[in-house]
Protein backbone atom coordinates (compact mmCIF):
# COMPACT_ATOMS: atom_id res chain seq x y z
CA UNK A 1 0.00 0.00 0.00
CA UNK A 2 2.79 2.37 0.87
CA UNK A 3 4.20 2.84 -2.59
CA UNK A 4 0.95 2.24 -4.48
CA UNK A 5 1.21 5.29 -6.68
CA UNK A 6 4.91 4.87 -7.32
CA UNK A 7 4.28 1.30 -8.56
CA UNK A 8 1.54 2.57 -10.89
CA UNK A 9 3.93 5.10 -12.33
CA UNK A 10 6.76 2.61 -12.85
CA UNK A 11 4.27 0.27 -14.50
CA UNK A 12 3.25 2.97 -16.96
CA UNK A 13 6.83 4.01 -17.62
CA UNK A 14 7.85 0.43 -18.35
CA UNK A 15 4.93 0.12 -20.73
CA UNK A 16 6.08 3.30 -22.47
CA UNK A 17 9.67 2.02 -22.52
CA UNK A 18 8.60 -0.90 -24.73
CA UNK A 19 7.46 1.32 -27.53
CA UNK A 20 9.37 4.59 -27.18
CA UNK A 21 13.13 5.28 -27.67
CA UNK A 22 15.20 5.95 -24.47
CA UNK A 23 14.70 9.71 -24.50
CA UNK A 24 10.97 9.14 -24.94
CA UNK A 25 10.93 7.25 -21.59
CA UNK A 26 12.18 10.18 -19.49
CA UNK A 27 9.81 12.45 -21.39
CA UNK A 28 6.89 10.09 -20.73
CA UNK A 29 7.64 9.88 -16.99
CA UNK A 30 7.60 13.68 -16.86
CA UNK A 31 4.33 13.76 -18.80
CA UNK A 32 2.75 11.12 -16.54
CA UNK A 33 3.44 13.10 -13.38
CA UNK A 34 2.29 16.29 -15.12
CA UNK A 35 -0.95 14.60 -16.18
CA UNK A 36 -1.38 13.28 -12.64
CA UNK A 37 -1.29 16.84 -11.34
CA UNK A 38 -3.50 18.17 -14.14
CA UNK A 39 -6.06 15.51 -13.26
CA UNK A 40 -5.62 15.86 -9.51
CA UNK A 41 -6.05 19.65 -9.35
CA UNK A 42 -9.60 20.01 -10.73
CA UNK A 43 -10.66 16.80 -8.95
CA UNK A 44 -9.51 18.20 -5.60
CA UNK A 45 -11.22 21.49 -6.38
CA UNK A 46 -14.52 19.82 -7.27
CA UNK A 47 -14.70 17.80 -4.09
CA UNK A 48 -13.51 20.71 -1.98
CA UNK A 49 -16.53 22.73 -3.07
CA UNK A 50 -18.78 19.84 -2.06
CA UNK A 51 -16.93 19.39 1.24
CA UNK A 52 -17.25 23.09 2.00
CA UNK A 53 -20.98 23.11 1.38
CA UNK A 54 -21.48 19.97 3.44
CA UNK A 55 -19.35 21.19 6.36
CA UNK A 56 -20.98 24.63 6.43
CA UNK A 57 -24.42 23.04 6.19
CA UNK A 58 -23.74 20.70 9.07
CA UNK A 59 -22.54 23.61 11.17
CA UNK A 60 -25.83 25.34 10.50
CA UNK A 61 -28.01 22.26 11.21
CA UNK A 62 -28.72 21.86 7.53
CA UNK A 63 -28.11 18.76 5.45
CA UNK A 64 -26.19 20.30 2.55
CA UNK A 65 -26.41 19.07 -1.04
CA UNK A 66 -27.73 15.51 -1.14
CA UNK A 67 -29.91 15.46 -4.26
CA UNK A 68 -27.36 14.99 -7.01
CA UNK A 69 -26.07 11.48 -6.60
CA UNK A 70 -25.82 9.55 -3.29
CA UNK A 71 -25.05 12.04 -0.43
CA UNK A 72 -24.63 14.73 -3.11
CA UNK A 73 -21.44 13.23 -4.55
CA UNK A 74 -22.35 14.25 -8.09
CA UNK A 75 -23.02 17.83 -7.04
CA UNK A 76 -19.62 19.11 -8.27
CA UNK A 77 -20.36 17.50 -11.64
CA UNK A 78 -23.70 19.28 -11.72
CA UNK A 79 -22.00 22.58 -10.83
CA UNK A 80 -19.42 22.01 -13.54
CA UNK A 81 -22.05 21.40 -16.20
CA UNK A 82 -24.00 24.43 -15.01
CA UNK A 83 -20.84 26.54 -15.27
CA UNK A 84 -20.18 25.22 -18.76
CA UNK A 85 -23.65 25.81 -20.06
CA UNK A 86 -23.97 29.30 -18.57
CA UNK A 87 -23.77 32.01 -21.16
CA UNK A 88 -20.43 33.77 -21.05
CA UNK A 89 -21.43 37.46 -20.83
CA UNK A 90 -18.62 39.83 -21.64
CA UNK A 91 -19.06 43.55 -20.80
CA UNK A 92 -18.81 45.62 -23.98
CA UNK A 93 -16.42 48.17 -22.45
CA UNK A 94 -14.13 45.41 -21.20
CA UNK A 95 -10.51 45.48 -22.33
CA UNK A 96 -10.37 42.33 -24.53
CA UNK A 97 -6.77 41.36 -23.82
CA UNK A 98 -6.87 41.68 -20.01
CA UNK A 99 -10.42 40.35 -19.63
CA UNK A 100 -9.57 37.21 -21.62
CA UNK A 101 -6.14 36.52 -20.12
CA UNK A 102 -6.98 37.04 -16.44
CA UNK A 103 -8.88 33.82 -15.70
CA UNK A 104 -6.29 31.69 -17.47
CA UNK A 105 -3.36 33.38 -15.78
CA UNK A 106 -4.94 32.93 -12.37
CA UNK A 107 -5.45 29.18 -12.80
CA UNK A 108 -1.90 28.51 -14.10
CA UNK A 109 0.12 29.40 -10.95
CA UNK A 110 -2.54 27.69 -8.79
CA UNK A 111 -1.86 24.44 -10.69
CA UNK A 112 1.92 24.92 -10.99
CA UNK A 113 2.29 25.08 -7.21
CA UNK A 114 1.18 21.43 -6.98
CA UNK A 115 4.48 20.36 -8.56
CA UNK A 116 6.39 21.11 -5.43
CA UNK A 117 4.01 19.60 -2.82
CA UNK A 118 5.32 16.22 -1.44
CA UNK A 119 2.16 14.05 -1.50
CA UNK A 120 4.04 11.06 -0.09
CA UNK A 121 7.50 9.51 0.36
CA UNK A 122 9.19 10.00 -3.01
CA UNK A 123 5.96 11.36 -4.54
CA UNK A 124 6.92 14.94 -5.28
CA UNK A 125 6.32 15.76 -8.92
CA UNK A 126 9.38 18.00 -9.29
CA UNK A 127 11.83 17.89 -6.41
CA UNK A 128 13.35 21.36 -6.94
CA UNK A 129 15.91 22.32 -4.36
CA UNK A 130 14.24 25.78 -4.29
CA UNK A 131 10.82 24.28 -3.50
CA UNK A 132 9.54 26.75 -0.90
CA UNK A 133 10.86 29.78 -2.81
CA UNK A 134 9.11 28.41 -5.92
CA UNK A 135 5.82 28.36 -4.02
CA UNK A 136 6.24 31.88 -2.66
CA UNK A 137 7.26 33.28 -6.05
CA UNK A 138 4.21 31.79 -7.79
CA UNK A 139 1.80 32.94 -5.14
CA UNK A 140 3.12 36.47 -5.60
CA UNK A 141 2.27 36.51 -9.30
CA UNK A 142 -1.48 36.29 -8.55
CA UNK A 143 -1.51 39.96 -7.44
CA UNK A 144 -0.66 40.93 -10.99
CA UNK A 145 -3.45 38.80 -12.40
CA UNK A 146 -6.02 40.25 -10.02
CA UNK A 147 -4.99 43.70 -11.22
CA UNK A 148 -5.65 42.56 -14.78
CA UNK A 149 -9.04 41.08 -13.91
CA UNK A 150 -10.28 44.14 -12.01
CA UNK A 151 -8.88 46.68 -14.45
CA UNK A 152 -9.96 44.72 -17.52
CA UNK A 153 -13.63 44.46 -16.64
CA UNK A 154 -14.00 48.28 -16.43
CA UNK A 155 -16.51 48.13 -13.56
CA UNK A 156 -16.45 50.30 -10.46
CA UNK A 157 -17.08 47.44 -8.10
CA UNK A 158 -14.33 45.27 -9.57
CA UNK A 159 -11.78 48.12 -9.44
CA UNK A 160 -12.65 48.65 -5.75
CA UNK A 161 -12.41 44.90 -5.13
CA UNK A 162 -9.18 44.65 -7.12
CA UNK A 163 -7.47 47.44 -5.18
CA UNK A 164 -8.54 45.94 -1.88
CA UNK A 165 -7.39 42.42 -2.67
CA UNK A 166 -4.00 43.53 -4.05
CA UNK A 167 -3.18 45.66 -1.03
CA UNK A 168 -4.25 42.74 1.20
CA UNK A 169 -2.16 40.20 -0.68
CA UNK A 170 0.97 42.34 -0.70
CA UNK A 171 0.92 42.98 3.03
CA UNK A 172 0.30 39.29 3.86
CA UNK A 173 2.85 38.00 1.36
CA UNK A 174 5.68 39.72 3.20
CA UNK A 175 4.66 38.13 6.47
CA UNK A 176 4.20 34.75 4.76
CA UNK A 177 7.80 34.74 3.51
CA UNK A 178 9.28 35.86 6.81
CA UNK A 179 7.30 33.32 8.80
CA UNK A 180 8.86 30.49 6.74
CA UNK A 181 12.45 31.61 7.46
CA UNK A 182 12.80 29.87 10.89
CA UNK A 183 11.79 26.56 9.28
CA UNK A 184 14.35 26.97 6.52
CA UNK A 185 16.97 27.65 9.18
CA UNK A 186 16.01 24.52 11.09
CA UNK A 187 15.80 22.29 7.99
CA UNK A 188 18.84 23.82 6.29
CA UNK A 189 17.40 23.51 2.80
CA UNK A 190 14.67 24.97 0.65
CA UNK A 191 13.48 21.72 -0.90
CA UNK A 192 10.21 20.48 0.51
CA UNK A 193 11.39 16.84 0.41
CA UNK A 194 14.32 17.44 2.78
CA UNK A 195 12.17 19.64 5.04
CA UNK A 196 9.74 16.76 5.53
CA UNK A 197 12.54 14.25 6.14
CA UNK A 198 14.17 16.55 8.68
CA UNK A 199 10.93 16.53 10.68
CA UNK A 200 10.96 12.75 11.20
CA UNK A 201 12.14 13.18 14.81
CA UNK A 202 10.00 16.10 15.98
CA UNK A 203 7.51 18.12 14.03
CA UNK A 204 8.42 21.77 13.73
CA UNK A 205 5.00 22.69 15.07
CA UNK A 206 6.02 20.97 18.31
CA UNK A 207 8.65 23.63 19.09
CA UNK A 208 7.34 26.95 20.49
CA UNK A 209 8.71 29.14 17.68
CA UNK A 210 7.58 26.52 15.16
CA UNK A 211 4.02 26.63 16.44
CA UNK A 212 3.96 30.42 16.28
CA UNK A 213 5.32 30.52 12.74
CA UNK A 214 2.86 27.76 11.78
CA UNK A 215 -0.06 29.90 12.97
CA UNK A 216 1.30 33.02 11.26
CA UNK A 217 1.88 31.04 8.04
CA UNK A 218 -1.65 29.64 8.15
CA UNK A 219 -3.29 33.00 8.82
CA UNK A 220 -1.27 34.70 6.09
CA UNK A 221 -2.06 31.84 3.74
CA UNK A 222 -5.76 32.40 4.41
CA UNK A 223 -5.39 36.09 3.68
CA UNK A 224 -3.39 35.26 0.54
CA UNK A 225 -6.24 33.35 -1.04
CA UNK A 226 -8.93 35.73 0.25
CA UNK A 227 -10.64 33.22 2.48
CA UNK A 228 -12.77 33.44 5.68
CA UNK A 229 -12.11 36.39 7.96
CA UNK A 230 -10.13 38.10 5.21
CA UNK A 231 -12.52 37.58 2.27
CA UNK A 232 -12.80 41.31 1.77
CA UNK A 233 -12.41 41.51 -2.01
CA UNK A 234 -15.44 39.42 -2.73
CA UNK A 235 -17.48 40.76 0.17
CA UNK A 236 -20.93 40.24 -1.13
CA UNK A 237 -22.51 42.59 1.37
CA UNK A 238 -20.35 45.49 0.24
CA UNK A 239 -19.03 45.42 -3.29
CA UNK A 240 -20.97 42.81 -5.09
CA UNK A 241 -18.33 40.25 -5.92
CA UNK A 242 -15.00 42.07 -6.06
CA UNK A 243 -12.80 41.55 -9.05
CA UNK A 244 -14.76 38.69 -10.58
CA UNK A 245 -18.08 40.57 -10.74
CA UNK A 246 -18.10 40.70 -14.51
CA UNK A 247 -17.14 37.09 -15.04
CA UNK A 248 -19.65 34.34 -15.59
CA UNK A 249 -19.77 30.83 -16.95
CA UNK A 250 -16.52 29.02 -17.56
CA UNK A 251 -14.36 32.08 -16.77
CA UNK A 252 -15.85 32.37 -13.31
CA UNK A 253 -15.29 28.64 -12.84
CA UNK A 254 -11.57 29.22 -13.44
CA UNK A 255 -11.46 31.89 -10.73
CA UNK A 256 -13.40 29.60 -8.44
CA UNK A 257 -11.03 26.72 -9.19
CA UNK A 258 -7.96 28.86 -8.59
CA UNK A 259 -9.30 29.95 -5.20
CA UNK A 260 -9.93 26.42 -4.01
CA UNK A 261 -6.62 25.13 -5.28
CA UNK A 262 -4.88 27.95 -3.42
CA UNK A 263 -6.69 26.83 -0.27
CA UNK A 264 -5.52 23.24 -0.85
CA UNK A 265 -1.93 24.24 -1.58
CA UNK A 266 -1.75 26.56 1.46
CA UNK A 267 -3.01 23.76 3.73
CA UNK A 268 -0.73 21.21 2.03
CA UNK A 269 2.27 23.47 2.55
CA UNK A 270 1.41 24.19 6.17
CA UNK A 271 1.35 20.41 6.66
CA UNK A 272 4.64 19.97 4.78
CA UNK A 273 6.50 22.74 6.55
CA UNK A 274 5.17 22.45 10.09
CA UNK A 275 3.17 19.29 10.67
CA UNK A 276 5.60 16.73 9.36
CA UNK A 277 4.25 16.25 5.82
CA UNK A 278 3.79 12.54 5.21
CA UNK A 279 5.48 11.45 8.45
CA UNK A 280 3.19 9.20 10.42
CA UNK A 281 3.30 5.90 12.34
CA UNK A 282 1.60 3.05 10.49
CA UNK A 283 -0.66 4.34 7.72
CA UNK A 284 0.90 4.77 4.24
CA UNK A 285 2.67 8.08 3.78
CA UNK A 286 0.35 9.64 1.26
CA UNK A 287 -2.68 8.79 3.45
CA UNK A 288 -1.10 10.66 6.37
CA UNK A 289 -0.53 13.65 4.14
CA UNK A 290 -4.17 13.70 2.96
CA UNK A 291 -5.54 13.27 6.50
CA UNK A 292 -3.53 16.19 7.84
CA UNK A 293 -4.30 18.40 4.83
CA UNK A 294 -8.03 17.73 4.97
CA UNK A 295 -8.01 18.44 8.71
CA UNK A 296 -6.52 21.84 7.99
CA UNK A 297 -9.02 22.41 5.20
CA UNK A 298 -11.80 21.61 7.69
CA UNK A 299 -10.37 24.40 9.87
CA UNK A 300 -10.49 26.80 6.88
CA UNK A 301 -14.16 26.01 6.34
CA UNK A 302 -14.74 26.22 10.07
CA UNK A 303 -13.34 29.75 10.03
CA UNK A 304 -15.63 30.60 7.15
CA UNK A 305 -18.65 29.31 9.03
CA UNK A 306 -18.03 31.30 12.16
CA UNK A 307 -16.10 34.49 11.81
CA UNK A 308 -17.38 37.82 10.52
CA UNK A 309 -15.22 39.71 8.04
CA UNK A 310 -12.42 42.09 8.96
CA UNK A 311 -12.56 45.62 7.59
CA UNK A 312 -9.84 46.81 5.23
CA UNK A 313 -7.89 48.92 7.71
CA UNK A 314 -8.08 46.28 10.48
CA UNK A 315 -6.73 43.83 7.94
CA UNK A 316 -3.78 46.03 7.13
CA UNK A 317 -3.24 46.91 10.78
CA UNK A 318 -3.19 43.24 11.76
CA UNK A 319 -0.66 42.42 9.04
CA UNK A 320 1.78 45.30 9.41
CA UNK A 321 1.48 46.09 13.11
CA UNK A 322 1.06 42.63 14.62
CA UNK A 323 1.91 39.65 12.44
CA UNK A 324 4.97 41.05 10.67
CA UNK A 325 6.84 42.17 13.81
CA UNK A 326 5.91 38.87 15.47
CA UNK A 327 7.29 36.89 12.51
CA UNK A 328 10.47 38.97 12.53
CA UNK A 329 10.92 38.39 16.28
CA UNK A 330 10.37 34.69 15.67
CA UNK A 331 13.60 34.41 13.68
CA UNK A 332 16.00 35.24 16.57
CA UNK A 333 13.89 33.05 18.84
CA UNK A 334 14.36 30.12 16.45
CA UNK A 335 18.06 30.89 16.16
CA UNK A 336 18.42 30.92 19.95
CA UNK A 337 16.87 27.51 20.28
CA UNK A 338 19.45 26.10 17.82
CA UNK A 339 22.65 27.50 19.15
CA UNK A 340 22.06 27.73 22.89
CA UNK A 341 22.76 24.76 25.13
CA UNK A 342 20.00 22.58 26.49
CA UNK A 343 18.46 24.39 29.51
CA UNK A 344 18.30 27.75 27.74
CA UNK A 345 17.31 26.45 24.33
CA UNK A 346 13.62 26.36 25.28
CA UNK A 347 13.54 29.09 27.94
CA UNK A 348 15.10 31.93 25.92
CA UNK A 349 12.94 31.57 22.76
CA UNK A 350 9.83 31.37 24.95
CA UNK A 351 10.93 34.50 26.80
CA UNK A 352 11.56 36.38 23.53
CA UNK A 353 8.19 35.40 22.14
CA UNK A 354 6.30 36.24 25.33
CA UNK A 355 7.91 39.67 25.52
CA UNK A 356 7.25 40.42 21.85
CA UNK A 357 3.59 39.30 22.09
CA UNK A 358 3.12 41.44 25.20
CA UNK A 359 4.76 44.50 23.65
CA UNK A 360 2.81 44.13 20.41
CA UNK A 361 -0.55 43.68 22.08
CA UNK A 362 0.29 46.72 24.22
CA UNK A 363 0.84 48.80 21.11
CA UNK A 364 -2.29 47.40 19.45
CA UNK A 365 -4.47 48.24 22.42
CA UNK A 366 -6.89 50.09 20.14
CA UNK A 367 -7.95 46.85 18.47
CA UNK A 368 -8.91 45.06 21.67
CA UNK A 369 -12.59 44.72 22.45
CA UNK A 370 -13.78 46.96 25.24
CA UNK A 371 -16.10 45.56 27.87
CA UNK A 372 -19.42 47.42 27.98
CA UNK A 373 -21.70 47.82 30.98
CA UNK A 374 -25.44 48.29 30.46
CA UNK A 375 -27.76 49.68 33.10
CA UNK A 376 -31.50 49.23 33.25
CA UNK A 377 -34.17 51.83 33.86
CA UNK A 378 -37.84 51.15 34.31
Amino acid sequence: METLFIQIKTLLVNAAALVLPPWGVTLSSMIISALAILGLGPLIMMYLTLMERKVLARMQNRIGPNRAGPWGLLQPLADGIKMLTKEDIRPSAADPLLYFLAPILIAVPALMVFAVIPFGKGMTAADLNVGVLYFVALSSTTTLVIFMASWGSRNKYSVLGGMRSVSQMISYEVTLVISVVPILMAAGSLSTQTIVESQSGRWYAATPWGLLSCMIFFICGLAECNRSPFDLPEAESEIVAGYHTEYSGMRFALFYMAEFMNVFSICALTVTLFLGGWQGPLLPSWLWFLIKTYLLIFIVFWFRGTLPRLRADHLMGLAWKFLLPLAVMNIPAAAMSHFLSEPFSTAVPLAILMVSVAVLSFFNKGYAAEKRVYHFTD
Binding site: V55, R58, M59, Q60, N61, R62, I63, W302, F303, G305, T306, L307, V357, S361, N364, Y367, A368, A369
Partner: protein, 187 residues
Protein backbone atom coordinates in the same frame (compact mmCIF):
# COMPACT_ATOMS: atom_id res chain seq x y z
CA UNK B 1 -8.17 38.78 27.40
CA UNK B 2 -5.91 38.25 24.41
CA UNK B 3 -7.27 38.92 20.95
CA UNK B 4 -8.32 35.40 20.05
CA UNK B 5 -10.28 34.36 23.18
CA UNK B 6 -13.72 35.51 22.00
CA UNK B 7 -13.14 34.02 18.57
CA UNK B 8 -12.22 30.59 20.02
CA UNK B 9 -15.35 30.56 22.16
CA UNK B 10 -17.43 31.30 19.08
CA UNK B 11 -15.63 28.57 17.14
CA UNK B 12 -16.49 26.03 19.83
CA UNK B 13 -20.17 26.84 19.40
CA UNK B 14 -20.07 26.06 15.68
CA UNK B 15 -18.00 22.94 16.25
CA UNK B 16 -20.49 21.69 18.83
CA UNK B 17 -23.37 22.25 16.45
CA UNK B 18 -21.37 20.50 13.71
CA UNK B 19 -20.92 17.45 15.95
CA UNK B 20 -24.48 17.61 17.29
CA UNK B 21 -25.89 17.53 13.79
CA UNK B 22 -24.54 13.98 13.47
CA UNK B 23 -25.39 12.54 16.85
CA UNK B 24 -28.27 14.44 18.44
CA UNK B 25 -32.02 14.01 17.91
CA UNK B 26 -33.82 16.68 15.90
CA UNK B 27 -35.03 18.88 18.73
CA UNK B 28 -31.84 18.70 20.84
CA UNK B 29 -29.73 20.42 18.19
CA UNK B 30 -29.70 17.64 15.60
CA UNK B 31 -30.86 17.98 12.02
CA UNK B 32 -34.55 18.81 11.83
CA UNK B 33 -34.91 19.38 8.09
CA UNK B 34 -37.99 17.68 6.61
CA UNK B 35 -37.04 16.76 3.04
CA UNK B 36 -40.18 18.06 1.38
CA UNK B 37 -41.26 15.90 -1.51
CA UNK B 38 -40.54 12.61 0.28
CA UNK B 39 -41.48 13.47 3.86
CA UNK B 40 -44.13 16.14 4.55
CA UNK B 41 -45.13 18.22 7.58
CA UNK B 42 -48.77 17.65 8.54
CA UNK B 43 -50.63 21.00 8.17
CA UNK B 44 -51.87 22.56 11.39
CA UNK B 45 -55.61 22.48 11.74
CA UNK B 46 -56.14 26.24 11.52
CA UNK B 47 -53.79 26.62 8.54
CA UNK B 48 -55.57 28.68 5.89
CA UNK B 49 -54.84 28.72 2.23
CA UNK B 50 -57.34 29.55 -0.55
CA UNK B 51 -61.11 29.31 0.26
CA UNK B 52 -63.45 26.55 -0.95
CA UNK B 53 -67.23 26.10 -1.01
CA UNK B 54 -68.85 23.30 1.01
CA UNK B 55 -71.78 21.13 -0.14
CA UNK B 56 -73.61 18.58 2.02
CA UNK B 57 -74.83 15.80 -0.27
CA UNK B 58 -74.72 16.80 -3.89
CA UNK B 59 -72.29 19.27 -5.46
CA UNK B 60 -75.30 20.79 -7.29
CA UNK B 61 -76.68 22.43 -4.15
CA UNK B 62 -73.87 23.95 -2.06
CA UNK B 63 -74.61 25.58 1.27
CA UNK B 64 -73.95 29.00 -0.28
CA UNK B 65 -77.10 31.04 -0.83
CA UNK B 66 -75.43 33.76 -2.91
CA UNK B 67 -76.05 36.42 -0.24
CA UNK B 68 -72.91 38.30 -1.48
CA UNK B 69 -71.75 39.18 2.07
CA UNK B 70 -68.34 37.60 1.56
CA UNK B 71 -67.86 39.41 -1.76
CA UNK B 72 -68.59 42.74 0.01
CA UNK B 73 -66.35 41.96 3.00
CA UNK B 74 -63.41 40.63 1.03
CA UNK B 75 -60.63 43.27 1.37
CA UNK B 76 -59.03 42.76 -2.07
CA UNK B 77 -62.50 42.13 -3.67
CA UNK B 78 -61.55 38.89 -5.38
CA UNK B 79 -64.97 37.10 -5.18
CA UNK B 80 -67.66 37.62 -7.83
CA UNK B 81 -71.11 36.00 -7.35
CA UNK B 82 -74.09 35.91 -9.76
CA UNK B 83 -77.39 34.69 -8.27
CA UNK B 84 -79.15 31.85 -10.08
CA UNK B 85 -82.65 32.39 -11.42
CA UNK B 86 -85.29 29.73 -12.25
CA UNK B 87 -87.31 29.47 -15.50
CA UNK B 88 -89.55 32.48 -14.82
CA UNK B 89 -86.60 34.60 -13.75
CA UNK B 90 -87.41 34.51 -9.99
CA UNK B 91 -84.04 34.58 -8.09
CA UNK B 92 -83.11 31.30 -6.45
CA UNK B 93 -81.11 30.75 -3.26
CA UNK B 94 -78.20 29.30 -5.28
CA UNK B 95 -75.17 30.95 -7.00
CA UNK B 96 -75.08 30.46 -10.77
CA UNK B 97 -71.58 31.82 -10.94
CA UNK B 98 -69.07 31.91 -8.05
CA UNK B 99 -65.54 32.97 -9.06
CA UNK B 100 -62.54 33.51 -6.82
CA UNK B 101 -59.43 35.02 -8.45
CA UNK B 102 -56.67 33.16 -6.62
CA UNK B 103 -54.01 35.55 -7.94
CA UNK B 104 -55.72 38.37 -5.98
CA UNK B 105 -56.85 36.44 -2.89
CA UNK B 106 -54.44 36.84 0.08
CA UNK B 107 -56.08 34.00 2.11
CA UNK B 108 -56.85 36.33 5.08
CA UNK B 109 -59.92 34.26 6.14
CA UNK B 110 -62.35 37.23 6.50
CA UNK B 111 -64.84 35.56 4.11
CA UNK B 112 -64.92 32.51 6.37
CA UNK B 113 -65.76 34.72 9.39
CA UNK B 114 -68.31 36.87 7.62
CA UNK B 115 -70.31 34.01 6.06
CA UNK B 116 -73.50 33.48 8.09
CA UNK B 117 -74.33 30.17 6.35
CA UNK B 118 -71.01 28.29 6.98
CA UNK B 119 -70.64 27.95 3.23
CA UNK B 120 -67.05 29.03 2.64
CA UNK B 121 -63.94 27.79 4.49
CA UNK B 122 -60.15 28.05 4.13
CA UNK B 123 -58.52 25.05 2.51
CA UNK B 124 -55.28 23.26 3.46
CA UNK B 125 -54.18 22.41 -0.06
CA UNK B 126 -51.27 24.62 -1.12
CA UNK B 127 -49.75 22.82 -4.09
CA UNK B 128 -51.62 24.88 -6.69
CA UNK B 129 -49.89 25.66 -9.95
CA UNK B 130 -51.37 27.31 -13.04
CA UNK B 131 -50.04 27.27 -16.58
CA UNK B 132 -50.65 30.98 -17.08
CA UNK B 133 -51.44 33.93 -14.89
CA UNK B 134 -54.93 35.03 -15.77
CA UNK B 135 -57.36 32.29 -16.62
CA UNK B 136 -55.88 29.28 -14.89
CA UNK B 137 -55.92 31.02 -11.46
CA UNK B 138 -59.52 32.24 -11.80
CA UNK B 139 -61.35 29.37 -10.01
CA UNK B 140 -65.01 28.88 -10.93
CA UNK B 141 -67.73 27.30 -8.82
CA UNK B 142 -66.96 23.75 -10.02
CA UNK B 143 -63.27 23.99 -8.97
CA UNK B 144 -64.17 25.47 -5.57
CA UNK B 145 -66.80 22.95 -4.49
CA UNK B 146 -65.65 20.33 -1.97
CA UNK B 147 -67.71 17.92 0.18
CA UNK B 148 -68.41 18.35 3.87
CA UNK B 149 -66.61 15.02 4.36
CA UNK B 150 -63.41 16.63 3.02
CA UNK B 151 -63.98 19.58 5.35
CA UNK B 152 -64.44 17.22 8.31
CA UNK B 153 -61.23 15.42 7.27
CA UNK B 154 -58.96 18.47 7.07
CA UNK B 155 -60.36 20.43 10.04
CA UNK B 156 -61.86 17.85 12.42
CA UNK B 157 -62.56 19.97 15.55
CA UNK B 158 -63.91 23.02 13.64
CA UNK B 159 -66.09 20.77 11.43
CA UNK B 160 -67.44 18.97 14.48
CA UNK B 161 -68.37 22.29 16.11
CA UNK B 162 -70.08 23.58 12.98
CA UNK B 163 -71.93 20.33 12.26
CA UNK B 164 -73.14 20.24 15.85
CA UNK B 165 -74.34 23.82 15.57
CA UNK B 166 -76.05 23.14 12.24
CA UNK B 167 -77.76 19.96 13.48
CA UNK B 168 -78.96 21.80 16.57
CA UNK B 169 -80.28 24.66 14.39
CA UNK B 170 -81.98 22.02 12.21
CA UNK B 171 -83.60 20.31 15.22
CA UNK B 172 -84.77 23.69 16.48
CA UNK B 173 -86.26 24.47 13.04
CA UNK B 174 -87.94 21.01 12.92
CA UNK B 175 -89.13 21.48 16.50
CA UNK B 176 -90.58 24.88 15.50
CA UNK B 177 -92.36 23.20 12.52
CA UNK B 178 -93.55 20.16 14.57
CA UNK B 179 -95.66 22.11 17.21
CA UNK B 180 -97.49 23.83 14.35
CA UNK B 181 -98.19 20.46 12.72
CA UNK B 182 -99.40 18.25 15.70
CA UNK B 183 -102.16 20.69 16.93
CA UNK B 184 -103.90 20.30 13.56
CA UNK B 185 -103.86 16.55 14.04
CA UNK B 186 -105.34 16.85 17.57
CA UNK B 187 -108.56 18.87 16.50
Amino acid sequence: MIFGAGILKGMLVTLRSFVNSYFKKPDQGGLFTVEYPEKRLVAKERFRNFPFLVYDEKPEDPRCVACDICAKECPPKCITIVRDADAEGRPLKKPALFDIDLSVCMNCGICEEACPFDAIFMDHEFEIAGTERHQSLLYHKEDLLKSNGYFRQIRPSDAALIDARRKEAEDKKKAALKPAAPPEKKE
